[in-house]
């Protein structure tokens, strides 16, 4: 890997060197390194691009890193990664994609990640999307995440796209069995003329399952964002979806939370708030000695943290 690719690896997966545990690094459409462990097997798919990650039941305190970097202009790919997480596991999965595009052609990565999370397993899934490069070609990403949670399974998903992606359609769907829980934290910042569309849809099917989706976004310059979140409460369950956006300059934000209850025992809540940075927040930080610009950056970085 060259310096550009190593830098992107640092941005999307916080890696300075090869990670410990299982990993698969994909660079410009080919594998740049892979390691399976006794409990975590990574296998290349034969019918389409992508990998299967199989984690043995009972695997605890282990991690899987599967970052993707693209530095070749004009590369377009769709990659299918399926995660089979056995019962009673407790694992961390770090994904993410970085695109460096200095050329005139668009580069695009569409990652389709499907999670089959076994009974009572716990998964923390972290993904970051990042773009850089000053070419005229766009940096495009369309991540799809499909989550199937069996009884008592828990998943925390932290997803962030802070800079450099020109256009993105982020789709996440989930179905939850009895006692399962899904907690999603999304952070997005768009600048320039970037466009971001986030769509969430969760089916709360099992008794006492719960889902909490919190999206915090900052829209700057002339960028546009659209957030849609649909919770379907089909049983005794608890669902909460929240979209909180800071809007600046000439940006546009559209928030569309949706709730559908098919059971009298479903407890569903949605919240959406869009507004500029509060003047009193800026003043407070300025009284501590920050300039207005420094105060603004501090508020935004805290908001997206």
């Amino acid at each position: 890997m060259d310096a550009i690719e190593k830098n992107m690896l640092k941005e999307v997966a916080d890696l300075d060197s090869l990670p410990t545990g299982a990993y698969n690094i994909r660079a410009n459409g080919v594998s740049a390194g892979r390691n399976s462990t006794a409990n975590i097997d990574i296998i290349t798919k034969e019918d389409k691009p992508g990998i299967d990650i199989r984690i043995k039941p009972g695997t605890k305190k282990e991690s899987v890193h599967i970052p993707v970097v693209i530095s070749a202009t004009g590369l377009k790919e769709s990659v299918y990664n399926d995660f089979y997480i056995g019962e009673d596991c407790d694992v961390v999965i770090v994904a993410g994609c970085g695109i460096h595009n200095c050329g005139g052609q668009d580069s695009r990565h569409d990652g389709i990640h499907t999670f089959y999370v076994g009974k009572n397993a716990k998964v923390r899934y972290i993904e970051k999307h990042y773009g850089e490069g000053d070419g005229e070609g766009k940096r495009l990403m369309n991540p799809q995440t499909v989550v199937h949670l069996e009884e008592g399974a828990q998943m925390i998903m932290e997803t962030a796209q802070i800079s450099g992606i020109d256009d993105t359609l982020r789709q996440t769907t989930a179905d939850l069995a009895a006692g399962a829980s899904l907690d999603i934290r999304e952070s997005i910042m768009t600048t320039g003329t970037q466009n971001s569309v986030s769509e969430f849809c969760a089916d709360l099917n099992g008794e006492n399952c719960s889902c909490n989706i919190v999206s915090r976004t900052v829209a700057r310059d002339n960028s546009t964002q659209h957030y849609t979140s649909r919770l379907n409460g089909n049983n005794i369950c608890a669902g909460h979806t929240e979209c909180d956006s800071i809007i600046m300059n000439q940006a546009q934000v559209l928030a569309t939370p949706e709730l559908k209850a098919s059971s009298t025992e479903a407890s569903l809540i949605h919240e959406a708030a869009i507004g500029k940075i509060a003047g009193e927040q800026l003043i407070k930080l300025m009284t501590l000695g920050l300039t207005e610009e420094e105060a603004e950056e501090q508020i935004i970085s805290g908001f997206l943290k």
């Binding site: 915090r216 909180d244 509060a278 009193e280 927040q281 003043i283 407070k284 930080l285 300025m286 009284t287 501590l288 000695g289 920050l290 300039t291 207005e292 501090q298 508020i299 970085s301 805290g302 908001f303 997206l304 943290k305």
Partner: protein
């Protein structure tokens, strides 16, 4: 030393602060007066949050009238809000670090937070958001000023919005601050116990300085005027 010369502030022809002339050089000065007398406006004028319509503000002889909030903060002016500001995502550690002007260590922050009755272990990673009560936010607001160790610390009604238990602790915080701090402390307050620890008291009325004198000379009159208020019914009820 802070000096105000002929400071005026008006909004749409309504004069809020009128020709205020003050020299504040004592260690601990309290501004008091009826609601709407211009106390908070005066504090905001000093901190640079609003600009005077006319007049001059000097800090240690330097004209700071044209300086903005940031520049005045860097000159050594701190300002504690009457209603502390909430932030989504920023933690007590973030704000205290900014206030201290450096990446303050845990033990330094622990020292300061304990001054306002908060345990650093419990609070340092908490967000300054709706999860904290008004009293907790108020104490953190005061801790931020302590962390700055400023030349001039301004507190706008620190007693507002806190319970009695917290209030008695707050008095002790200010007593300690008076004994330990080298800078000037300027507090807007209606509370007798805060007035009682002042070196000097400024009494504002209708935007003007009606009296400015040593505590012993002015406090008895202020307390009497409160009792001899115009509303007899209210005074009787209070009795």
């Amino acid at each position: 030393m802070l000096e105000l010369k002929d400071v005026c502030y008006a909004v749409e022809d309504k004069e809020i602060v009128k020709n205020v002339n003050l020299v504040i050089e004592d260690h601990f000065v309290v501004i008091t007066g009826p609601n709407g007398s211009g106390k908070s406006t005066l504090a905001k004028l000093i901190a640079g949050i609003i600009e005077p319509t006319s007049g001059t503000i000097l800090l240690d002889g330097e004209d700071i009238t044209g300086l903005n909030i940031t520049e005045r903060a860097k000159k050594g002016i701190s300002y504690a809000f009457q209603q502390p500001v909430r932030f989504k995502g920023l933690t007590v550690r973030d704000l205290m670090g900014l206030a201290a002007g450096k990446d303050a260590s845990f033990s330094e922050l622990c020292d300061i937070l304990s001054e306002v009755g908060l345990c650093a272990k419990e609070y340092i990673n908490r967000g300054l958001d709706g999860s904290l009560s008004g009293g907790e936010l108020k104490r953190i607001e005061i801790a931020m000023i302590l962390a700055r160790n400023s030349k001039l610390s301004i507190f706008d009604e620190p007693e507002a919005g806190i319970d009695l238990w917290s209030f008695s602790k707050l008095i002790r915080v200010f007593e300690k601050m008076v004994s330990k701090s080298d800078g000037n402390i300027l507090i807007i307050s209606h509370q007798e116990r805060i007035l009682d620890i002042a070196d000097k008291i400024i009494y504002l009325k209708d935007g003007e300085v009606e009296r400015y004198a040593k505590k012993d000379e002015i406090l008895p009159d202020i307390l009497n005027s409160a009792v001899n208020g115009t509303c007899r019914v209210l005074v009787d009820k209070l009795d």
